[in-house]
Amino acid sequence: MMTATHKTAATEHLNIVIVGHVDHGKSTLLGRLYADTGSLPEGKLEKVQAICRQQGKEFEYAFLFDAFLEEQEQGITIDTARTFFTWKERYYIIIDAPGHKEFLKNMISGAARAEAALLVIDALDGVKEQSKKHGLLLSMLGIRQVVVVVNKMDLVGYRRDVFDGIEKEYREYLDQLKVRPERVIPVSAKQGDNVASRSERMAWYTGPTALEALELFRKEAARSQQPLRLPVQDIFKFDARRIVAGRVSSGRLRVGDRLVFSPSNKTANIKTIEAFNVEPLPTEAQAGQSIGITLDEQIFIERGEIASRQDDLPCVSTAFRANVFWLGRRPLEQDKKYALRLATREVDCQVAIIHRIVDASDLAHQQGGTFVGRDQVADVTLRARSPLAFDLVHTFETTGRFVIVDEYDIAGGGIITELVHDEQEFLRDEARRRDFAWVKGEVGAEARAQHFGHRSALVLFTGPADASKAFLARKLEMILVAEGRHAYLLEGENLRRGLDADLSQSDTRDTVEMVRRYGEVARLLADTGLIVVSTTNPFGLAHHQVIETIRTLVHPTPVIAVQMSHIKPEAEEPPPGIDLMFAGPEDFDAAARQIVEELKRRGVLAHAIGAKPTFQYSI
C-alpha cells in the first residue's frame, strides 16, 4: 500500500473514486499524479523502475499501484484499493475502482463511499458501454461532483476536434441522468500532460489540470441543516440507563426535544444525551454522530424505527417505487422473497412490478421483464411485508436508499423515487394523527404491562361462520383469565347492535365504517392493557382486507390473526397476513395452548407470572 508522506497537517479529508472502462488509464493517471506531486514514499519510483529493467518490461506508472502480485500478472485492478495523498492542506483518499466488467460490485463498493468522482475515458477508444454504465451508477449512488478525464490525448495527436466530440457525446449522455460534469479535461497520463502541470501541446485548452480539478472539488456540506432523521440502531441496558443508540443521519437534536418514532408513532422527549469520557454530557448532537439518548418515558420502540420531529415525518408505507442495481449471481426475480435493509430496518420484501430494465447504452430504450440480471439497473415497485418508514432519495439520502439481501449476501441496492400509495394509507394517516393527539393519563403502557404481567394484544379469529371460531375464542379467553391474565372477548355482533345501530350491513360504505369503528374500539381496549380476543365477522368484506385495516388502526399493538377452516389446510405456511391456521374441529385445548405460545413468542406474555414480570424483549 502506498501511503504518501504527510508533509503538512491536512485540515480536510476528501474521498474520491476513480472509475472508467478497463485500460482507459486510471492506474496510470494515479501513478502520474503521485509521482508529479512528490507524494511517493522515498525510493518507490526507483524501485519499480529497477524491477521493470530487471524483467525487461517497459516502466508503467500503473505498476506503482499494483499491490498484489496477481494483479500485475493479470494487468487489472482486482478489488477496490485505497491510496492516500496530501496536497495543499487536503488529504485525499483515492478509491481506485476496477473498470473490468466482472468487478462492478467492487466498483460500487468503492464508489459508494466517495464524495466526488473522476471518470476516465480513452481518447482513442472513445465512450464505451462501461463508461456509460459507470456514469449511470455514479448518478444512482448520489455522487454529484463528477470530473471527466479524456486520457491518452497523445494517441490522437492532442487534437481538439477529437476531444470536443467525446465531450459532446458524453455530456449528452450524462444530461439524461441529470448529472452535469463540472469539468471535462484533456490529458495524457503517460506523458504527463494536464495532470499536475499544464500542457503546452494543448494550448487550446484553458481549463484546470486534473490536479487543479481535485482542488476544486467541494467538501460535502454536513446534513445538519436538514430536518431530523435518527434511525434507531439498538436499545442498550448495560446498567440503570436505557439508552436508545443510533446515528443521526440528518438534522440535529437537543435535550428536551420531542421525538416521534415511525412507523410505531410512539413519542417521547429526550432526557439526556449519553456519552463516554465526555464531561459534562453533551446537550445536543447533529448529523453524522453516533449517539445514545435516554427518553423521559419508557416507550417500547425497536431497531429500525426512524425518529424525527412531528412536523417533518418520514413516509410510511408498504410499497415504493425505486431504481435498483443488481449485483447478485442469481437474478432478482419478481415475486420472490428477499430481505430489504433501509438504514437500520430489515423487512421481507418482493418485487411487485418490474417497470423497465434500464439499458445503459441507450437510456430511452424500453425493455420489460420478470427478472433483473446481474449488473443490470431497473425501475421497479417493491412491496414490503410490513410498513416501514423511509424518505424519497432526493430529499434525504440516507433514509431514501436501501440494499437487497439474497440469502447471505447483499446483492443489490436502490434509491427510492416515489411513494406508492397502498390501500391502508388513508387509515394510517388517520391513526397517526389520532396517536399524536392522544391524551395520556399518568399511567403509561409500560406501567400497565408491569402491573398486569403482559402487554396488550389483539387475537383475531377469522374463517367461515360454522368453523367453531367462537368456541375457540371463548376457550382462549377462559384459559388466559384462569392464568391470571387480563383478557376480554370483543364480540363484533355486540358492536353492530349498539355502536353501529345507525349503519346498514347492506351498504358497502357503511360496512367500511363498521370496520373502522371496530378498529377504534379495539385500539381503546388495547390502550387499557387488555388482551382482546375477538371473532369479527368480515362485515361482508374480504378477510385479508379487514385484517389489514384492523392492524393499521391498532398499530403498533401486536395482532395475532388465527384462521379457522373446515378442512385441513394444504399449505404448510399460513397465507400472508395470517399467523396461525387450524382446521376444526380439532383439539381445542391444544389449539388454545398454541395461541398462548404465540403470545409468548411475540413478547406479549412474560414467561412466568410472578411478582416482577420479565419480558423477553427490551422495555
Binding site: 485505497r82 456519552a275 447483499i410
Partner: protein, 265 residues
C-alpha cells in the same frame, strides 16, 4: 480534529452493528496502539462497557511489559479477557528460528484458528487499518472468512451505504474492521485527544530508539527515534517516508500476502 471525530463515529457505528448482529462476538486485542484504540472505541460505543470478550493470542514471545499492561487494563476496565495459545506447537519447540512464516502461522494464525473453533465465535473484531500494507487496503469493514479461515479477496460481497455483511453460512465467520479508514497518524492523534493509556515502548526512553509497531520480541525491532511524547511521534510521522511495519520481519517479500490469505490477522 473534525475528521478524527468522523472516524470515531463511523467506527462506533460499525461496532454497534457488529454487537447487534453477532451473538458470538469477540475482539482481538494485541495491546498495540491500534487494538487499544479499538478497545477504547468499544467503551465509547457501549457507554463504558465492553460487552464481548477480548482475545489475546499469546505466542509466549511477547515483550513482558505488554503482558503487564494487558493485565492492568483488564482489571481496571473490567474486561473479559480470553487468552489463546498454541501449546502443542510451543511444546514442540516452535520459535522464529524455524522460519518466520512458519512460526507466525503456527503460533498466531493457528492459535487464533483453534481459539475460534473452540469458542465458536462467528464475528471477530480486529484493528486492521487500510494504510498498513497492500492487502489490508482491500478489506471490507465486514469481510467473510470461509470454513478454512481463508479470505477470497477476489470475490467479496459488495458493501455500501453502511450496510454490512451480517449473515453467513454455518461454519464460516466474519472479520470486522472498524479501523479500516484510520491512518497511523490518526491513531496517535486520537490517543492524544482522548488521553488513552498506551505502552511507553512506543516512546524513546533514553536510548534514541522506540517501537513503531509491536509484536513478538525476537521479530520486532525498534526504530531510531527521539520522540518522547505523543506530539513528537505525530511530528515524526508527518515527515517519515519509511513504512510503518519496516521493523516487522514478517512483511519481507510476499510474506504478508501469503499469511493473510490463510487467515492471519
Amino acid at each position: 480534529m473534525k475528521h478524527l471525530r468522523q472516524l470515531e463515529h463511523q467506527s462506533v457505528y460499525i461496532l454497534r452493528e457488529a454487537y447487534k448482529h453477532f451473538d458470538n462476538l469477540a475482539m482481538l486485542w494485541s495491546m498495540g496502539k491500534d487494538s487499544t484504540v479499538l478497545l477504547w472505541l468499544a467503551r465509547k460505543a457501549f457507554f463504558g462497557h465492553v460487552p464481548f470478550p477480548l482475545l489475546h493470542i499469546d505466542t509466549s514471545y511477547k515483550i513482558p511489559a505488554m503482558i503487564e499492561y494487558r493485565d492492568r487494563l483488564a482489571r481496571e476496565w473490567r474486561l473479559n479477557l480470553v487468552i489463546g495459545q498454541n501449546k502443542e506447537a510451543l511444546a514442540n519447540g516452535m520459535n522464529h528460528t524455524l522460519g518466520r512464516g512458519v512460526c507466525c502461522t503456527a503460533l498466531k494464525t493457528n492459535g487464533l484458528k483453534s481459539l475460534l473453533d473452540e469458542k465458536g465465535y462467528t464475528g471477530v473484531i480486529l484493528g486492521v487499518r487500510a494504510d498498513e500494507e497492500g492487502t489490508r487496503a482491500k478489506e471490507r469493514y465486514f469481510s467473510p472468512r470461509d470454513k478454512n479461515n481463508e479470505w477470497d479477496f477476489r470475490d467479496q460481497p459488495p458493501e455500501l451505504w453502511d450496510q454490512f455483511k451480517t449473515t453467513f453460512p454455518p461454519g464460516t465467520h466474519i472479520r470486522i474492521h472498524p479501523l479500516l479508514d484510520w491512518t497511523e497518524i490518526n491513531i496517535w492523534e486520537y490517543i492524544k485527544l482522548e488521553n488513552i493509556p498506551f505502552m511507553n515502548l512506543y516512546l524513546d526512553r533514553g536510548d534514541g530508539t522506540r517501537y513503531r509497531s509491536l509484536g513478538c520480541a525476537p521479530c520486532t525491532f525498534p526504530i531510531k527515534s527521539s520522540a518522547r511524547t505523543v506530539d513528537e511521534i505525530i511530528e515524526e510521522l508527518r515527515h517519515t517516508t519509511v513504512a510503518e511495519r519496516s521493523g516487522r520481519a514478517q512483511d519481507e517479500g510476499r510474506g504478508m500476502e501469503l499469511l493473510r490469505k490463510d487467515g492471519y490477522m
